[in-house]
Amino acid sequence: MKVTAFLIKYGEIAIKGKNRYMFEDALMRQIRFAMKPVGEFEVRKESGRMFVEGRGDFDYDEAVEALQKVFGIVGICPMIIEETKDIDHLRKTVLNFIDEQYPVKDFTFKVHARRGDKQFPMNSMELNMDIGEKILEAFDGVRVDVHHPDVMVNIEVRKYIYIYSQEIKGPGGMPVGTNGKAMLLLSGGIDSPVAGYMIAKRGVRIDATYFHAPPYTSERAKQKVVDLAKIVAKYAGPINLHVVNFTDIQLAIYEKCPHDELTIIMRRYMMKIAEHFANEGESLALITGESIGQVASQTIHNLAITNEVCHMPVFRPCIGMDKQEIVDIAEKIGTFETSIQPFEDCCTIFVAKHPVTKGNLNRIRKSEQKLDDVIDDLMKKAIDSTEIISVK
């Protein structure tokens, strides 16, 4: 008895009132996109439910894994669709289904039938009792518990008969594409891919900017960031990754500004460049992986100074999280292993031994004045030479 379809449960979007169809359409579009590499599937709505039905052979695990990456899905119920509406046949189908889904027959259960098709000879109550009895007879270790069953056997008689029991947790959130677009400042670290994931989860499409500093950072470091963007794209959809050559700006700061302010000043210019590309690509906000106090440049004082150059909102979803909490998400979404590959990124190359932790905005501005005669040219050069990689 093979699972041929999935019933998709979606939470939050069901309450969106008149916009509901918009969210549902976005969800169906995202599901179709996610299922494309798995096989041929039909995605459809039917009286307030969403079904993903296989049109031919597919790998069950692969299909579940793909669905688990689609934001907006709360639950995934592997399902059997029975076209023959015959009670004898139905009994057999249900028994086979239970036998396969639960190899260890030691659980309590309840049958929950719903009869939408009134032509069917048994009503819901009769179906509950009839099928329940057959299950009890067939398997030794199972017991009925109508209040807190381990296994809820759902049988829905509609145009066809749908049989499902377990519900696999989906990622939650909202379908990507329902909430505009934002620009992620993506480094090779652990935090920024997690930040991108978290914002995408709220239905936001993502673009990304990465700063590299050849020859101080290598091609491999860049490849690592492309790999990270690829993993985030599995959830967030296609990402335009902007690769900015930051070497000359960094060297100019290094040469002219106080060394202990290097990182803060650098980050201010990174924000400006990211905002430039955000405007160009119609992103409405920036996203960073910053978390209060994690490193010297992320003290609340320095965050305020970095933030000061931005004109659009900056989303920092990791802001109140501990490192371990961020790592847990990175592991869950599959970016952790890539993030910990040891390639130097541009934030660490010239870092001072004792960077300023309580920056002073006036002093930073004064330091930046020392760059006045070169910075516009350098910024323009960096922006003009930026490479855009389309990551899918």
């Binding site: 050849p214 020859p215 101080y216 950072t217 290598s218 091609e219 060297l251 290094y254 040469e255 060394h259 040891p342 130097e344 190359i349 010239f350 001072a352 031994k353």
Partner: protein, 380 residues
């Protein structure tokens, strides 16, 4: 593009590609098969064995094909240790071996073997007196490389062989000749070598193939089991195209009495001469014809490597095999006690028959431009 990373790997000779393609397209039989197609492949393997044996003045049956240098070293070390552990459990090696020697030896140490590590001089040469004193009655194995992969030091293998066999004729002598084969004459029986490792891709042959020379009568235990190919010493269907390509590369490298190696040496020595034009460097290079190791004071090797890469010049920092591990300070550079201010800035330039003096000139000019610039921006 200038490729100065030939100790990491080399470009495959066009002739090698040709014979391999033929082997794949025409002689694709399984050498163990009973039919003609199988025999045709088997004959290619036999022929290759003869060709390679001749380059070492050895017998064809003394050549065991492997998947390359790492497997040759693993087979040699673990295979002899297991086969001879009743005679003794003492093994001698050096502090500058390649990972494919020191890792299996570290594993043997965990299994209860006792290991003596020989020191090296500032030039990376082992101390023969120390070797002599280290050999005991229960010493079953001595493993020493012939040319060090990081700095190109040539070890006194002939003297070592004599000392080992005089002190304990039972002790098996393994030589990792992965960097040496094709660069200098090697006649195992004259050097008293029992086991010798070699890898194809270091001499313009294909990757995934190499051999282990096993002197007739050496007690060694297979470490890969299966269908009993290669007289049970290494099961697995023979890599026929690889083997054919390997033999072709061996023949080409050894031909004309190492004329190729002489030409490589000329390029290397020219490079050593010209690199003196750069300030504050230290030349760690040994006598090997193809490896130059240069330490640049106050520069991080990785940064200089990428700056050179940006100009189309490919070199390596330390040894390419281990440099993708985080912050591994090279064993050899530690062992030769290089000063700290130089250690971080060591690059390996390694040459092949395909390199020219013009390429050296170009590289020196680029270095003259890059080095002062990079030294300006060092970590404060």
């Amino acid at each position: 593009m200038i490729y100065f990373d030939n100790a990491a790997t080399t470009r495959v000779f066009p002739e090698v590609v040709k014979v391999m393609q033929d082997a794949m397209e025409s002689s694709y039989g399984n050498p163990s098969a009973k039919h003609m197609k199988g025999m045709e492949a088997e004959n290619l393997v036999k022929k290759a064995q003869e060709v390679i044996a001749k380059t070492l003045k050895a017998k064809p049956k003394e050549i065991l094909f492997t998947s390359g240098g790492t497997e040759s070293n693993n087979t040699a070390l673990i295979g002899t240790a297991l086969a001879n552990q009743r005679k003794g459990k003492h093994i001698i090696t050096t502090k500058i071996e390649h990972a494919s020697v020191y890792e299996p030896i570290a594993w043997l140490c965990e299994q209860g073997f006792e290991i003596t590590y020989l020191d090296v001089t500032a030039e990376g040469i082992i101390d023969l007196e120390q070797l002599k004193n280290a050999i005991r009655e229960d010493t079953i194995l001595v493993s020493c490389m012939m040319i060090n992969n990081e700095i190109g030091a040539i070890e006194p293998i002939e003297e070592a062989g004599k000392i080992i066999k005089e002190k304990n004729p039972e002790t098996i002598f393994h030589v990792d000749a992965i960097q040496a084969y094709g660069k200098m004459p090697i006649i195992p029986k004259n050097l008293k070598i029992d086991l010798l490792s070699m890898s194809g891709h270091k001499i313009h042959g294909p990757k995934g193939i190499g051999f282990l020379y096993i002197k007739e009568g050496t007690k060694i235990q297979p470490i890969i089991f299966g269908g009993g190919q290669q007289k049970g010493m290494r099961s697995g269907t023979e890599n026929v195209p690889g083997i054919v390509g390997l033999a072709c590369a061996c023949e080409k490298m050894i031909k004309n009495d190492y004329e190729n190696a002489q030409r490589i040496r000329e390029v290397k020595e020219y490079f050593q001469e010209r690199i003196k034009e750069i300030e504050d460097i230290k030349d760690n290079s040994g006598q090997a014809p193809h490896i130059a190791s240069i330490s640049f004071k106050k520069i991080r090797s990785e940064v200089l490597l990428h700056a050179l890469e940006d100009r189309g010049i490919y070199v390596s920092s330390g040894s390419a095999c281990s440099s993708n591990k985080k912050q591994v300070v090279s064993g050899t550079l530690n062992a030769i006690a290089l000063a700290d201010e130089y250690k971080d800035g060591t690059l390996r330039f390694s040459f092949s028959i395909e390199n020219t003096k013009e390429e050296v000139d170009e590289t020196i000019e680029v270095l003259k431009e890059l080095v002062p610039m990079l030294r300006k921006f060092v970590r404060r």
